[in-house]
């Protein structure tokens, strides 16, 4: 009888505990933990602002070994949102056993899924991340207010998207890991990632809210902000358990 139990347990283990990696994402603004609504921030252009909404898509994950071998994981799409704690924990499944030194992923949704009709799950248009008048995903969204904004109610509205050349906003991110990430049946590794929203405005293309407090179509400003936020991620820690 014990043997039967053991068999069942083994079977369950092999089904559910396939090699996986847990990503834990925290959001920051200029190094400080992000606080929606209440906290006030100042960008490099000198505009004070707050953030009311911050969300974006992540997809196309891959793991890179020390010898440069790249393991592309099964397609999966995640909508990460500051106001949804569960969305900030991402489970990468079917990670082959190994030791990896870099993590790579896309901010955004593959071009083909932008013109393949309605999707479900994280890509369901009911999440408000799909443009209705000009089909395509909003890859990343940041909203808030700033006294510098000349929009109604001093709002900030950055909806960054566009999948057709020349205005393509998907960005690949490759992050070196501070210590090797080990995957295998005996490990439950975690990667602690941080995304800093200040990079949207303080990167290579500095944004002043006096000049631009929002952008909500595909176009050059969207491309520039995507160039900025391509650098918003950093790896804080690897926990090999």
């Amino acid at each position: 009888m014990n043997r039967l139990l053991l068999l069942i347990l083994l079977f369950m283990a092999s089904r559910t505990a396939a090699q996986q990696v847990q990503l834990e994402i925290s959001h920051a603004v200029a190094g400080q933990p992000m606080q929606l609504q209440t906290a006030s921030y100042t960008n490099a252009a000198g505009d004070t602002f707050n953030i009311t909404l911050f969300k974006y898509y992540l997809s196309n994950f891959s793991l890179i070994a020390a010898d440069g071998r790249k393991i592309t994981l099964d397609p999966a799409y995640f909508l990460v949102s500051e106001d949804n704690p569960a969305s900030k924990k991402i489970l990468l499944l079917q990670c082959p056993k190994g030791e990896y030194t870099q993590l790579s992923f896309m901010i955004g949704v593959d071009s083909v899924l932008n013109f393949s009709g309605p999707q479900d799950g994280a890509l369901d248009p009911l999440h408000g991340m799909f443009w209705t008048w000009n089909s395509g995903y909003i890859m990343a969204k940041l909203e808030g207010t700033s006294p510098s904004s000349r929009l109604p109610n001093h709002m900030l509205q950055f909806h960054i998207g566009g999948y057709r050349a020349p205005h393509v906003t998907q960005r690949m991110v490759t992050l070196p890991l501070p210590s090797p990430l080990r995957t295998g049946p005996q490990y439950r590794p975690q990667v602690l990632l941080q995304a800093d929203a200040m990079t949207w405005f303080n990167g290579a293309n500095q944004i002043s809210f006096r000049q631009m407090a929002g952008f909500m179509t595909p176009g050059t400003p969207a491309d520039r902000i995507a160039d900025n936020y391509q650098h918003m991620f950093s790896v804080k820690k690897i926990v090999n358990q």
Partner: protein
């Protein structure tokens, strides 16, 4: 010990069954569905629409038809898709220049007629929508049209007994998702096929059907002066062009440029089909012409020749009075009465 392990075994089997069932429900149709084959004339090019991703079933089409005619798809349950897309007007909006919406609001463009959409690869007057299945998202959520939040709509339909039954029949489970909703709407909309006009009978050399002398004259004029853009058999080449229609400052509609941010696309709009044209007035993206003779007059002498005007019409299309009369007679042969009265497409009354 034995009993304990038996319990565990039973629980485990149950878990396997539930896990397996969920996956099955998401991917497979219920075994009861009846597949449906669209009847299309042989001579047509293959459709752009990929039926592999949305195989037609009688149950799916029935659900789509119910959705199409259901005012519950709008925020105050006042406006259905069929409210603006009327069958007798080839699913355009009879006598309305621009679209109407909830709470007495109006949009800023004319309601396009709906038929033969499986050959069309982008939608709306500016081609901004890139897939037939995602097209209904725009009118459903636009605050000037149906004004509905998609998440609220999914919950509303899930709470309705009739829809739970219809979704189960079409998809095997009662679950309402936006993807299922959109695909079902497409199932119905793709059955709007119009190739049964007098013109089609003449082209197919059906016995006893011929053009009158006036229609024949109009066909000649059409072939010489209109057919490069309004290309048979669809009577559109599905491109986006500036036909020289004067810009109206009060509407400030820049056309395709809104989508591409490219000044070369200023004032470009989709070439509409001329099938059923005489029953789907008014004309142009803003419905400014209520009479087809106003359209003829625009091409003859009323264009505004900006720098994005299409080369094919930049010198205008001179049309004598006789040519205009004959053209009208020819366009009349493009009206497909069988389509306009097809009972499978007609409105269903929804009371719950």
């Amino acid at each position: 010990m034995f009993r304990k392990s038996a319990y565990i075994l039973i629980a485990f089997c149950l878990w396997l069954w539930i896990a397996g069932r969920d996956r099955h429900a998401l991917t497979a149709h219920s075994p009861a569905v009846e597949y449906y084959q669209l009847k299309l004339p042989d001579s047509l090019p293959p459709p752009v629409y990929d039926f592999k991703n949305n195989p037609l079933t009688k149950e799916g089409i029935a659900l789509g038809r119910h959705l199409f005619y259901d005012p519950k798809l709008s925020i105050d349950s006042s406006i259905s898709c069929g409210f603006c897309h009327q069958q007798f007007a080839a699913f355009g909006h009879f006598d309305h220049a621009i679209s109407h919406g909830v709470l007495g609001r109006t949009g800023n463009r004319s309601v396009p007629a709906l038929f033969n959409l499986i050959w069309q690869k982008d939608f709306m007057w500016d081609g901004g929508v890139n897939h037939l299945d995602i097209q209904p998202l725009t009118p459903i959520t636009d605050e000037n049209e149906m004004g509905m939040d998609l998440g609220v709509l999914v919950k509303r339909l899930q709470g309705n007994k009739t829809y739970r039954k219809l979704f189960k029949a079409a998809y095997g489970t009662e679950e309402v998702t936006s993807q299922r909703l959109f695909k079902a709407l497409s199932q119905f909309i793709v059955t709007m096929i119009s190739f049964e006009s007098k013109y089609d009978s003449v082209m197919r050399r059906e016995p006893g059907v011929t053009f009158t002398a006036e229609e024949q004259g109009g066909y000649r004029t059409f072939t010489q002066k209109c057919a490069s853009c309004h290309k048979p058999p669809f009577f559109t080449d599905y491109t986006i062009r500036n036909n020289g229609l004067p810009y109206l400052p009060s509407m400030n509609d820049v056309g395709r440029m809104r989508i591409t941010n490219n000044t070369a696309d200023y004032l470009k709009f989709k070439v509409p089909s001329l099938r059923n044209v005489l029953v789907s007035a008014p004309y142009m993206h803003d419905g400014r012409f209520f009479d087809i003779f106003q359209v003829f007059a625009m091409y003859d002498h009323g264009q505004q020749k900006g720098n994005t005007i299409d080369p094919l019409v930049k010198n205008g299309i001179p049309l004598t009075e006789k040519e205009q009369r004959q053209l009208y007679m020819f366009l009349n042969t493009l009206t497909d009465k069988k389509f306009l009265t097809n009972k499978d497409l007609s409105e269903v009354l929804i009371t719950d």
